[in-house]
């Protein structure tokens, strides 16, 4: 195994049926799961999935948008919402500035109207590079507004979640976003509208315990870590190591938390099928 560190993904286990391993060339991306070399072109063609072992690399919000939305169909909403430092939390302003600079994003989610597989939908896509995809006031507000617009337009909602933990710097204002987004979805569901929630690696903490956990359908990408408490904290509680597949998408599917685990190559078709089975999900 290559010792190259790749952030948190190094916890992903190497599958038993380890696939053909192609030694990496200098300018290639090294797969953290099977250590094969992948060219930039291969990575693009495979939507950032390793063609050898199906390891799913993280996608930025815009990469995901370009992959899932029909070309040119996206109309972004609420871009003027920007995080402040409501508690005057030490270091938060700097962290926000750094995240904006690094990602070119204003916050950890983009929302808007789009067409997916020809169907009109409301989309929310999170980005893990922005403070680990944590939900503060702006993320909660953008989701709530998106849900309300979906109700107005009687339109299905699709979210792609990624969250590594709470936006602690916003204290209880951050925690209350769980209540706010769940309240918005309560109204949405009462209107008989369709919500497809996709959880990507990792989706832990308040996000799966609020809006992302409230989909009519909950789908995960292979290998995604999904849970309320992250594995390291659980290991501290138990005082023992957890199996490597613990809380992974496949594990959560077996334990009844997910409807499906779907490879990125097939996900657009599966979402299209679900929309079709709900007659486009548009009751208007």
């Amino acid at each position: 195994m290559l010792k190259r560190s790749f952030g948190k993904t190094k916890y992903i286990p190497v599958p038993q049926e380890a696939l053909p391993h192609r030694p990496p060339k200098p300018d290639q991306t090294v797969c953290p799961q099977c250590a094969s070399g992948i060219s930039a072109e291969e990575l693009r063609e495979n939507f950032k999935v390793c063609p050898f072992c199906r390891y799913h690399f993280p996608m930025t919000a815009h990469e995901r948008l370009n992959w899932i939305a029909d070309p040119g169909s996206f109309e972004e909403w609420d871009t003027e919402l920007s995080s402040c430092n409501p508690l005057g939390f030490p270091g938060y302003d700097e962290k926000l500035a750094e995240a904006r600079e690094k990602t070119g994003l204003k916050e950890a989610i983009i929302t808007g109207a789009a067409r997916v597989q020809g169907y009109q939908v409301v989309l929310g896509i999170m980005d893990s590079r922005f403070l680990m995809g944590s939900m503060g006031s702006v993320v909660g507000e953008k989701i709530s507004r998106a849900v309300e617009k979906a109700i107005e337009r009687t339109c299905p909602l699709i979210t792609f979640a990624v969250a590594g933990g709470a936006r602690m710097q916003e204290g209880m204002l951050s925690l209350m976003q769980m209540a706010k987004t769940s309240a918005a979805l309560e109204r949405f569901h009462k209107q008989g509208l369709l919500y497809i929630s996709v959880m990507t690696h990792p989706t832990v903490g308040g996000v799966p315990a609020s809006f992302a956990g409230l989909g009519d359908f909950i789908i995960a990408e292979p290998g995604a870590l999904i849970g309320f408490t992250g594995p390291r904290v659980i290991e501290q509680t138990l005082g023992q190591r957890l199996p490597e597949r613990f809380q992974r998408a496949e594990f959560q599917l077996e334990h009844g938390m997910l409807d499906l685990v779907v490879d990125r190559a097939e996900l657009p078709a599966v979402i299209g099928q679900l929309l079709r089975l709900h007659l486009g999900g548009n009751h208007g």
Partner: protein, 319 residues
């Protein structure tokens, strides 16, 4: 090092005992100890005035976790004219970290639900330190549905460090169990009054805290994550919990000024545990005030609750 114990109590009690000893002494001996007694009484007063009126956020965290602080069952025993505990989620088990049932509040039937921790090690083991599993949250779900069916107002009591961070909890769907409670509470068409009586930690506490009114005891705390966790993650140092407790704005007064809490109920000097009955009486009055107000406002409870929740959050608008 961070202080782990709330020690003013002991200091306070020590001085009280000393005064009593001196008083006894001066009675039996022919000794005038009045000046010494005066000094100690002065000390006692200054502890009361300065310490208990000006507790730091971290001291409030420690006080909120005080093992002798009254727990949910004590509140129910005194707040309800009568109440009956109901068990189980109908799927998997009965979570002793959450108690729930039906009682009467000033003669009116209500559904009551709260986190339940223990007061000693044995009871805490039985109650899992008040940290619920998914079956606890599904019991909450069942009791909430029942409350709505029979048109009963709901009273909840928050007292948990958080949902249990264990393997079984994750295997049985902890995040979705919490999410479903949040959504159900948001749309429930009966009044819901929540009271934080001790420590409120994270989503595991919030799952009982989405209501029409949020009441907090003056030394209780409510936080997105514990000060220790924030210290470990943000400052890479759990020993910085004390400064994190201040930065998180987790006290009742802080949360009142952030419009998250509607009413702060003052505790007796020395904390809720020094006079449980008085504390519980004050909480009962606050619940009554808020509950009757919500009921008199009439209209759709869910609609008014939605407006309340919808206003939560602070952000800038930058064109």
């Amino acid at each position: 090092m961070v202080k782990r114990q709330f020690d003013y109590e002991d200091k306070y009690k020590n001085i009280q005992n000393k005064i009593r000893e001196l008083e006894e002494l001066s009675g039996t001996l022919d000794f005038d100890l009045s000046s010494e007694i005066k000094v100690l009484e002065g000390k006692l007063k200054s502890i009361r005035d300065q310490k208990y009126q000006n507790l730091t956020p971290w001291e409030k965290v420690l006080l909120a976790r005080h093992p002798e602080r009254p727990t949910t069952i004590q509140y129910l025993d005194h707040i309800c004219d009568e109440w009956i505990e109901l068990h189980g989620d109908r799927y998997y088990g009965d979570d002793p970290a959450i108690v729930g049932g039906i009682g009467t509040f000033n003669g009116m039937p209500v559904t009551v639900i709260g986190h339940q921790r223990g007061k000693d090690t044995n009871e805490n083991i039985k109650r899992n330190f008040g940290m619920p599993h998914p079956e606890g949250y599904r019991k909450v779900h069942r009791l909430l549905k029942q409350a709505e069916k029979f048109g009963r107002p709901v009273l909840t009591f928050i007292d948990t460090q958080g949902a249990y961070p264990g393997a079984g909890a994750e295997e049985r769907g902890q995040p979705v169990a919490i999410a479903q409670d949040l959504m159900l509470l948001a749309g429930l068409n009966v009044p819901i009054i929540s009271t934080v009586i001790g420590e409120g930690g994270s989503g595991g506490a919030l799952a009982l805290g989405v209501g029409d009114r949020l009441i907090m005891l003056s030394n209780s705390v409510f936080s997105v994550a514990s000060a220790e966790t924030c210290g470990s993650i943000l400052a890479k140092d759990p020993n910085r919990a004390e400064e994190m407790a201040a930065a998180l704005k987790l006290t009742a007064d802080d949360l009142k000024s952030l419009n998250i809490v509607d009413e702060v109920v003052p505790e007796p000097i020395g904390g809720a545990h020094t006079d449980p009955l008085e504390t519980i009486t004050r909480v009962k009055e606050a619940i009554a005030r808020n509950l009757y107000e919500v009921m008199e406002n009439g209209g759709s409870f869910a609609e008014q609750r939605y407006q309340r929740l919808r206003s939560m959050g602070r952000y800038n608008i930058i064109a």
